[in-house]
Symmetry: C2
Amino acid sequence: MKKAETTRLSILHKAFKLIYTKGYQTTSIDEIIATTQVTKGAFYYHFKTKDEMGLAIINEILKPSLTESFIDPLYTIENPLDAIYTLMENLLMKTEFLKVEYGCPTSNFTQEMTPWNVDFGRALKEITKLWIQSMTSLIEKGKENAFVRKDVNAKHVTVFVISGYWGIRNFGKLENTKKAYLPYLNQLKTYLHTLQ
Amino acid sequence: MKKAETTRLSILHKAFKLIYTKGYQTTSIDEIIATTQVTKGAFYYHFKTKDEMGLAIINEILKPSLTESFIDPLYTIENPLDAIYTLMENLLMKTEFLKVEYGCPTSNFTQEMTPWNVDFGRALKEITKLWIQSMTSLIEKGKENAFVRKDVNAKHVTVFVISGYWGIRNFGKLENTKKAYLPYLNQLKTYLHTLQ
DNA sequence: CTAAAAACATACTACTTAGTATGTTTTTAA
DNA sequence: TTAAAAACATACTAAGTAGTATGTTTTTAG
């Protein structure tokens, strides 16, 4: 039970890449198995349906990468406002597997799936909640440590920042250059500054 | 040449509604003509392809509604910062044809189409530009009239605000309640306050 | 009123899609 | 080593898709 797991993960990774660049609907199973060098039999041995694979992508690909790239970095800088800004700057300008022309995977998924698949919505809501909670509690701690003003609503700030992030990711798709991110980063900095 | 135009617009309106609620890919032409009570012959008389219809939706439905609901209201309030906040509050909480579970049409289109259709991207970029330019020049005027600090970068503020709007619209899809919009509106208000 | 063009209607095609039926090979456990 | 289960392979199906071919009806202009 080792090779099998490799096959499964290989399918998930290739499928994720295709879906990230093309969208879920426009990515066919035939295309996935072609680029994965796996046959239909193997695919349907590992996943009952395409949607089951989609859910697996959220839980087994998106979720871990969210933890690694979106949450853990928050704890490497003492000042939470600095941590948030640095995170966003890294995500937008430096993180390599995120491309300006393809936007944010979680945001893309949310946009495309939510209207017609409740399970996808639930799974996406859950992983988004993780990000929100991390950032919120970080700000709360910042209030205790005098990095953040006491009257700041941590949850509100978090949602505001993340909304901007999702929005500017979509914006980037239109402009097709990372320069499009700069206005957001610039204003994010001044905004965060007003919270201390 | 009057009845024909009615048919054409009827198709565009019904198609827009379907696409807004379900997405472009998942809305089939058969579905469109079924709800429009029009036959395939009529559809393909008015539009050479599905994508031509999609472009027509952007230019003939989205664009006018953007002007009417997203731009014109900006000029009804003297203080540009108040105008922007009021616009966003109205769009998010009151505008009836925008539903929390379906997000923002322009943002949806951008998200779904950009990766695989250049023409859609161009058209969407163009109408988005209209919104940005309006809001930017409004803020510039606000600087002259002492409503806005002189050192504020109008374009940056505009992009920051609109990004937040797009993002919170996507956020609403996960939460499925307009309450999800409140953190954005709340922080938008305090953010705009710091610009005066 | 009438012919020609515009506007629509119907039946079909070629292709793609997710999923299945039925196999064969590989791995695992005794 | 061997039998059984796991893992994969191939060929197929049924349903849907955008788009077309070929009509008929309606409108318009002279």
